[in-house]
């Protein structure tokens, strides 16, 4: 079990909370309300940290664990915010056979976070993605809109340094 508590400080605003409460009020008496509430909550905050899940639990009466169970079941929900720079490593077939797995591992090691997570300073978040249509450049990763191809693990320091 990894600790799933986000280390990125929660920066929710009163406006976001008011909007979430509005959503909960509107939906909470519906059958199966939890999924749509979570989807809206993720739209509002970008992710679903403990603070947000607690608001949902307190205002719907659904136990926090049940909410957490649903959030961790569906890949569409994230416990972590996106970083200022979102790094995506392609783990599609072509990139993978060209060694993108090693690159993904190296990034996790360098950033000190797992896939789907965000560094505590909010700078980088890391995700794996499937084919981005640049198989000719495999292995490929993107940092926000920038695409990096024909990578080796030795390129990673230089790339990260550009955004530091």
């Amino acid at each position: 079990m990894n600790s799933a508590k986000s280390t990125v400080p929660f920066k929710g605003t009163p406006e976001q909370e008011a909007e979430l409460l509005r959503v909960i009020e509107e939906k909470k008496s519906d059958k199966g309300a939890l999924m749509p509430i979570l989807q809206k909550a993720q739209e509002i905050y970008g992710y679903l940290p403990i603070e947000v899940q607690k608001i949902i639990s307190d205002n719907t009466g659904i136990p926090l664990e049940k909410i957490y169970g649903v959030v961790t079941f569906y890949a569409q929900f994230s416990l972590y915010p996106k970083g200022e720079y979102t790094i995506s490593v392609c783990l599609g077939t072509a990139c993978y056979v060209k060694g993108s797995g090693d690159i993904y591992d190296k990034l996790q090691e360098k950033l000190g976070i797992g896939g789907g997570e965000c560094t505590p300073d909010g700078k980088f978040s890391l995700d794996a993605c499937r084919c981005i249509g640049a198989c000719g450049l495999a292995p490929v990763m993107t940092v926000n809109e920038d695409v990096y191809g024909r990578l080796t693990v030795d390129d990673i320091d230089t790339i990260l340094a550009k955004y530091a």
Binding site: M1, S3, A4, K5, E65, K66, Y68, F73
Partner: protein
């Protein structure tokens, strides 16, 4: 609805419409194995151990018997080669990600998975070994640990926590092969609003969750010549303990239990029934005081530490309704380390108070604040019925051949009112027996209105011209329902008894585990409760106010029920807790 005709293994029979294949087979005397299925609580058809062949006119196919309804003219094969092969494969797949440390497992011998593996002839437990999940053991709670390496993901614990108890602090996290049972944000159970009831342990088919075992520490204390080791046994323990030694559910173990405890080396073998009587003296006095002097009503009982913790987490605004009486376990320890210690000239620091409880929340309760009447904890170790069973087994004591022995004086003396504490409604009945006497001088015994295993019971008694409206709830979902009614002002009870476990302590989280295949068809709560009501009936004294040892305690030490000294020693306080 019309009855259905079905053919089970070629044998024709009639079953009511709505009967499942599993239930039909049970009626035919065939037990289909189950792992996840709990009648009315966990009907999820997930584990696939109950797969059975049925033919509804389109040829035989495998269905989950626990949730599949019978249809007219259905043919059912419960142990065809295909069925056996499917169940065997399921077992092999479960074993591929199961920590197979059966030799040292607490459930070895009464593990439901182990039994199935034997029944289905699993000859190679490592057949499908591959990647295995590795989990850290969660021992953050005071009363139990979770070892997910042994978990088979049947979700019985999850269902009982969420549905029976209305709490839901555990659930399935992640998905697929990574699925595990845990709490939100991977909090340790001790950080959550778990109430320690242990119902999850009582239903776990394997050794994934268990109470924290303190038998070694207790044996060490017994071996220490400096220590006087006293033991008290809760009412419900005598209604469950014999099951550890192969006796049928509902066997009275009282006499043999006392004998076994003596042979284990406890210096004095006492009885929590004594302090149950004492609790009644204090609680009935508190209740009448609240009624007569405008105190907070309804008053709610405080014997069940799982209920108390539930109230503190989920209904902190109701804390003023809780009786300030310590539970019988704690009253016993407090009395032993003050009155009894003084009487016998023993330094309370040298008394080791051990309690045998049908309960896991008692392990939490002994560590609560404001439970140290003599400046040291009232109770040092709270063992479950199961732990006592293990101690007796380990000591080589032939339990079934033991003579029936008595408890020691004076703290082993009790009345019928004390022993019924172990069943839902028992505390209420015992309190009413004494309250009626106090107000009218009349003696009452049997009060059938508050007996029985129903989750919520109501009754009104006319006591000395005053109507006393009472309510009895067991199981925390039922408690929640009652509390909501009180909060909405829809109920005008004066006195409520709440027990955390459904059916009361006889079905406590520390009682011997009964395989779910039995529990689904036998009401263990009722069977065990019968032991207590029969004991009550057989006792010469049946009202707490007649307990001679309790009277002596007041005469020699506490003055009278509700006195200042009684408050110092026998009463406690509560705290607000958060929900996690």
């Amino acid at each position: 609805m019309a009855d259905l005709t079905v053919k089970i293994n070629g044998m024709e029979m009639t079953v009511p419409a709505g009967t499942t294949v599993l239930e039909a087979a049970h009626m035919a005397g065939i037990e289909i194995p189950t792992l996840c299925y709990m009648k009315e609580i966990n009907e999820i058809g997930a584990c696939r151990i109950c797969v059975t062949e049925v033919n509804e006119g389109r040829g035989f196919r495998l269905v989950a018997a626990c949730v599949y309804p019978c249809s007219n003219n259905m043919e059912i094969l419960t142990s065809s080669p295909k069925v056996i092969a499917a169940r065997k494969k399921t077992l092999e797949l479960i074993l591929s990600d199961h920590d197979r440390k059966c030799l040292s497992c607490v459930r070895s011998g009464n593990c439901e998975l182990q039994k199935l593996c034997k029944d289905y002839g699993i000859d190679d437990a490592s057949l499908y070994d591959g990647v295995k999940n590795e989990y850290e053991i969660d021992d953050s709670a005071a009363h139990m640990y979770r070892d997910n390496n042994k978990c088979i993901l049947c979700r019985r614990c999850v269902a009982v926590c969420a549905k029976t108890q209305g709490i839901g602090v555990i659930g399935a996290n992640e998905r697929g092969f990574k699925t595990y049972i845990g709490s939100a944000f991977d909090m340790g159970l001790g950080e959550t609003s778990c109430v320690s009831c242990g119902q999850c342990i009582a239903v776990c088919p394997v050794g994934a969750i268990s109470e924290k075992d303190y038998t070694k520490e207790v044996l060490a204390a017994i071996a220490d010549p400096e220590k006087t080791v006293l033991v008290q046994t809760a009412p419900a323990v005598r209604a469950g303990l014999a099951e550890c030694f192969g006796n049928p559910i509902g066997t009275n173990a009282e006499g043999r239990m006392a004998a076994a405890l003596r042979r284990l080396g406890f210096d004095k073998v006492f009885d929590t029934d004594f302090s149950a009587d004492l609790t009644i003296m204090e609680e009935a006095t508190e209740f009448l005081d609240r009624v007569q002097n405008g105190g907070v009503l309804p008053m709610i009982t405080s014997c069940s530490p799982g209920w108390i913790k539930f109230c503190e987490h989920y209904y902190p605004e109701m804390i003023p309704h809780l009786s300030t009486c310590k539970s019988p376990q704690q009253m016993f320890g407090a009395t032993a380390k003050t009155y009894y210690a003084e009487k016998m000239g023993i330094d309370p620091k040298n008394i080791v108070m051990v309690s045998i409880m049908p309960c896991t929340a008692k392990k939490f309760e002994i560590g609560r604040p404001d439970q140290s009447a003599a400046g040291v904890p009232d109770v040092d170790f709270a063992l479950t019925t199961r732990e006592l069973g293990r101690m007796i087994e380990r000591a080589g004591i032939n339990f079934n051949a033991l003579p029936e022995e008595k408890f020691d004086d004076p703290l082993g003396l009790s009345t019928g009112a004390g022993v019924i504490f172990g069943a839902t409604g028992g505390v209420m009945e015992a309190a009413l027996r004494t309250a009626v006497y106090t107000l009218t001088g009349n003696e009452v015994t049997d009060l059938p209105e508050v007996r029985g295993t129903e989750g919520i019971k109501e009754a009104t008694y006319n006591v000395g011209g005053m109507d006393v409206k009472v309510c009895v709830a067991s199981g925390l979902s039922n408690a929640r329902e009652v509390l909501e009614k009180v909060k909405r002002g829809e109920a005008d009870y004066q006195f409520i008894e709440i027990m955390a476990c459904p059916g009361g302590c006889v079905n406590g989280g520390g009682q011997p585990q009964v395989p779910m295949g039995v529990r689904n068809f036998v009401d263990i709560r009722a069977e065990r409760a019968k032991v207590l009501y029969n004991l009550d009936k057989s006792m010469p004294l049946r009202q707490s106010h007649h307990n001679p040892a309790v009277k002596a305690l007041y005469d020699e030490y506490l003055e009278k029920p509700g006195s200042h000294k009684a408050h110092e020693i026998l009463h406690t306080s509560y705290v607000k807790r958060s929900v996690n």
